[in-house]
């Protein structure tokens, strides 16, 4: 019956108030529990702690903060404890012998059955191995027989009021408390316990001295004069009931095993009769544990809350921050405010996360945050306010001033830089020419961009042309800048004799943007279908020189569009690069969606949803759009493959349907253009006398059968059944929702190289009012590989609000990654965010950039390249000739690319 009879499983810190070296460590050890019974032991530990922490003074913060509790799981081969057949005290034992780890036995000294002992040195050795800093050991023996024993290794069975027995024993061994009962073997049993012998007991809770001026607990006496009692008959226990209140601390005769001449401080006590600890015992426990309790500290880290330069209509959050070092939950409450002290009408401070924060114990210093929001009013406004925060445990309060000001919502000047080299006349892959795809796709960008921004257009081949200077966009339907830009895009045509000098286009856009100083931000969107075949090249406009954000779209396969240099340039300026790959019939909106995504990036909006579909005659589609309290406004944009056939409406969360006619009176704007239809909703909107704000909106699309029949009536005239005509099955469309929002997803697909086998790091960062979205969201990425196979990658939340995964781009071509972030806002409303990223890899993608010749012999390129460059530059090959050759099947621009591509 020993250590051979079981296994030490291990130790668990079930109350952790700090390092073991600084705390008073109670170790609770299992004995007589089999491995299968350990869950019961865990419950018994919890029962004990629940009981202990319900008893004063153990219910006090400072006492609890001093105590670590460790649970040492030891599995015995058999359960319960030995109960020897013969014991000296006349009790009738069960004559049990079991194999347990610490060899617990009743009748531990051979004469007293209720004395429950264990192999103490084995217990000490075992605990020393696991918690060398232990202060008290409590062995719980898995037996329902009454029993226990005191000492620094105390034992208890799990009979009756065993928790009280254990607490009483701790009173002796851990806190040096004496028994306060006035008998030895029992009242009516003892014959030799009349008068306490001389000699003051060393324990703090019993005394022979009842002089109120000198009694050792005089500072704790509750009444004046001190309450006392005397035992009228010293031959017996005092039979009177407590004449005082329970909490009275005085001097009551009968204590420390004697009827008279010894005094106890309370009538009842844990150390007398399992009552509540008397006032003196409580103080002794507090004093003993005080050195184990490091004082807590609270420091306000934000004496002022500043909302600096908040854009109009934008809600911004700031936190009142406390540094907290404490072993218990610390609760901070906004006791007053936040109140507006000054500011224009409409100024409001709010508390999106409520008025209270509970800071849970942690090792070291932690921070408690109370969030306050301010929503920008009008440009130039400023406001002040204050709030009062209370620390609930101490009642300490802090009044914190708030200062805020509003600035104009940032505007952006954006230049569309469009490729017009000869190769733009080539087929894009879906039956349209590249320039047609470009016209179709850039149009929605111009239609959707917000009124207070600026727009300009540059076209380039081997030289750059300012097609449209930067001008204010203006009204959603009739803005002058918008109209001019629409025309510029609609009239964009290739130059059959044009080479490609992307750097020239970038340079011109840069010059234009540098002059657009009235805008807060500047960006350019560069679209190209090919390699530089002339100066300046992309590589010649170093990222350091370009101080505006560059977004780049490669129209074509990555090895055709100089993805390496454009990616480097875009990333270096805070923009991004996408490569379309070959456009196919089933994915004709791809470029338009990239343009709109770039627009969202340019104006700091997020994509709420962005699905593609095809609608058949007579069908109605409902696409859900989750808008939340974080969204300031939203553009719901429909891009149809065929204009004018789809009826487009918006349904509010309460079910009201907004059509273009209804929109006019509701403050919701509707706009229709050749390539897009759009609703612009500022939240909340007011429709039919109701406020329509956060919730699930729907985009409604219906394909009218009559319009449809009319559209294809010519087919019937020729006797062709509509069904047999591929394009006449239905209308493909995409509907997107773009929100200017406080809930943002920033997604990136970063490639380790441009060759097949590159590692792609997919990363998304989700924030709400700038605060990481912690454990409330999930992000997945739908991957379309170059061979059109698909996969879904779940990103892991590697830190609060940061999601990451890596993938391999093994095949040559374009990988498309559609990030989808879904979760709950702070107010537990469902949200969704999307983002499209691409990565292109190709064999040779790691080669150094190509450099076109400079037109002089020996300039570094092949002679053929030099020759054609020279002929073009010198004018020896006229545009007319080049165009004539093209018509006859010789594409000089393509030839030039072929010759100059590789060194």
């Amino acid at each position: 019956m020993s250590a051979a009879d079981g296994t030490v499983i291990g130790v668990t810190r079930i109350e952790d108030r700090g390092p073991a070296s600084s705390k008073w460590n109670l170790v609770i050890v299992s004995e007589g529990y089999t491995a299968a019974q350990l869950p019961q032991f865990h419950q018994h530990c919890q029962d004990f702690l629940d009981h202990l922490y319900g008893l004063a003074p153990f219910d006090e913060r400072d006492v609890q903060c001093a105590i670590n509790v460790h649970r040492l799981d030891v599995a015995s081969n058999e359960s319960t404890a030995d109960d020897p057949a013969v014991c000296g005290d006349g009790d009738i034992p069960s004559a049990t012998t079991v194999a347990t780890y610490f060899d617990a036995t009743f009748c531990g000294n051979g004469t007293i059955r209720r004395l429950l002992t264990v192999d103490q040195t084995l217990v000490i050795d075992t605990v020393d191995d696991h918690v060398p800093e232990w202060d008290q050991i409590l062995v719980i023996v898995n037996s329902t027989l009454y029993g226990g024993a005191g000492g620094t290794v105390a034992t208890t069975s799990i009979s009756g009021t065993w928790e009280n027995i254990a607490v009483h024993e701790l009173g002796h061994s851990a806190f040096g408390l004496a028994d306060e009962y006035e008998y030895y073997a029992g009242c009516g049993v003892d014959t030799d316990r009349n008068n306490h012998p001389a000699g003051e007991p060393s324990e703090p809770n019993v005394t022979l001295n009842n002089d109120p001026n000198t009694i050792k607990w005089r500072t704790l006496v509750t009444d004046s004069p001190m309450r006392t009692s005397n035992n009228a008959d010293c031959s017996m226990c005092d039979p009177t009931a407590n004449p005082f209140t329970a909490a009275t601390v005085g001097a009551f005769e009968g204590a420390h095993y004697y009827h008279c001449d010894a005094y106890r401080p309370g009538w009842d006590c844990m150390m007398r009769n399992f009552g509540a600890f008397c006032g003196v015992c409580r103080q002794v426990i507090r004093d003993t544990l005080a050195p184990f309790n490091t004082p807590s500290t609270l420091n306000l880290m934000t004496p002022t809350l500043s909302f600096n330069d908040v854009p109009e209509g934008v809600q911004t959050a700031r936190a009142v921050v406390f540094d907290v070092a404490s072993c218990v939950d610390e609760t901070f409450t906004i006791a007053a405010g936040p109140t507006v002290l000054s500011g224009p009408a409409g100024t409001a401070f709010a508390t999106p996360l409520g008025l209270q924060v509970v800071s849970a114990p942690a090792t070291g210093t932690r921070q408690a945050r109370l969030w306050v929001t301010y929503t920008g009013t009008a440009d130039g406004d400023s406001a002040t306010g204050e709030l009062t925060v209370r620390h609930d445990r101490t009642g300490q309060t802090w009044t914190i001033p708030i200062v805020a000001n509003t600035v104009r919502r940032p505007t952006v000047a954006v230049v569309l830089v469009l490729d017009k080299s000869g190769s733009m006349s080539a087929d894009a892959g879906d039956g349209r020419t590249r320039e047609q795809v470009l016209r179709d796709s850039a149009q929605p960008f111009v239609n959707v961009i917000q009124a207070d921004n600026g727009i300009g257009v540059v076209a380039f081949d081997h030289d750059a042309t300012e097609v449209m200077p930067i001008a204010p966009v203006g009204d959603l339907n009739f803005g002058v800048g918008r109209s001019t830009a629409r025309s510029a895009v609609a009239n964009h045509t290739h130059n059959p004799a044009g080479f490609t000098a992307i750097g020239d286009g970038i340079e011109m856009a840069r010059t234009m943007l540098n002059g657009a100083t009235s805008y807060d931000h500047r960006a350019m969107v560069v679209l190209t279908d090919g390699f530089d075949t002339d100066h300046l090249t992309v590589d010649e406009v170093a990222p350091g020189v370009i101080d505006q954000r560059v977004f780049a779209i490669g129209l074509g396969r990555p090895n055709e569009v100089k993805a390496t240099a454009l990616t480097t340039l875009a990333n270096g300026t805070g923009g991004s690069m996408v490569v379309t790959g070959t456009i196919d019939v089933d994915d004709q909106f791809r470029l338009a969606k990239y343009y709109l995504q770039i627009l969202a990036g340019v104006v700091n909006a997020d994509i709420v949803t962005d699905p593609d579909s095809e609608i058949l005659p007579g069908q109605e589609h409902r696409v859900p759009i989750d808008l939340t309290e974080t969204d300031i406004d939203a553009d719901v944009v429909l891009l149809p493959a065929l204009p004018g056939l789809i009826d487009f409406a918006l349904e509010t969360p309460s079910g009201q349907v907004i059509t273009p006619g209804v929109a006019a009176g509701s403050g919701i704007q509707f706009a229709q253009a050749q390539r897009s239809s759009q609703y612009r909703v500022v939240l909340p909107a007011f429709v039919g006398g109701r406020s329509e704000g956060p919730g699930q909106w729907h985009a409604l699309m219906r394909l009218d059968e009559k319009k449809w029949d009319k559209r294809w009536s010519w087919l019937r005239e020729y006797g062709i059944p509509i069904e047999s005509f591929a394009n006449a099955q239905g209308v493909k469309y995409t509907v997107g929702a773009y929100s200017f929002t406080n809930l943002r997803m920033r997604a990136t697909a970063t490639q380790s190289s441009f060759v097949p086998g590159a590692t792609v790091t997919l990363r998304a960062v989700l924030t709400e009012y700038g605060i990481p979205i912690d454990n409330r969201a999930a992000v997945r990425v739908e991957v379309v590989r170059p061979d059109t196979t698909t996969a879904v990658i779940q990103l892991a939340e590697i830190e609060p609000g940061v999601f990451e995964a890596t993938s391999t781009a093994a095949m040559q071509g374009v990988y498309r990654y559609r990030f989808i972030g879904e979760g709950r806002t702070l107010r537990w409303r469902q949200f969704r965010r999307e983002y499209l990223a691409t990565v292109g890899v190709w064999v040779g993608g790691d080669r150094p950039p190509d450099v076109p010749g400079d037109g002089t012999p020996g300039g570094g390129s092949t002679d053929w390249c030099e020759l054609i460059t020279c002929l073009r530059r010198s004018g020896a090959l006229s545009d007319e000739l080049v165009e004539r050759w093209r018509k006859q099947g010789v594409d000089i621009d393509a030839l030039h690319k072929c010759l100059c591509r590789r060194r």
């Binding site: 202060d135 009979s159 008998y183 324990e203």
Partner: protein
Amino acid sequence: MRQARQMDGPVDAIRLTIRYGGDRFEIVKRTRVRKVVPPSAPLLDEGDVEVGSWAEVRAGGRSVYRQLLTDQLGRDVEVFTSDPDRPISRIAVDDPVGVFTVIVPVLDDADEIAIVGPPRDAPERRRRKAADRAAVSDLVTFPLRGDEPDGAAS
């Protein structure tokens, strides 16, 4: 009586595991540990009289740290029963044997630890009759030297 010097934070301490049988005491384990130790009970000077059991660290014969060993030296045992009228009672033990531990700080000038208590030669019920005898005395003393290896028996 006087108050002991307060110690802030973890200190070097010694844990002694002491086995007793009758009037014999032996250290069965001695380990060093760095931790906060419980505060000292008030220290006794010449002439201070208390009755009880305690461990006392001494420097040159003078008490510098004291920890009560209430109910730990096994001269009688406390017994708990299911009888509500007598939930706790005591039974004397004629031949006490057992183990206790005490943890004390390592103090620069300390040279000795004493286990103090009522004389061990008589069980409790006989001892009371000899009320004129010294109430407490050193039951055993052990030298405290800082250079002893951890875990060595003394």
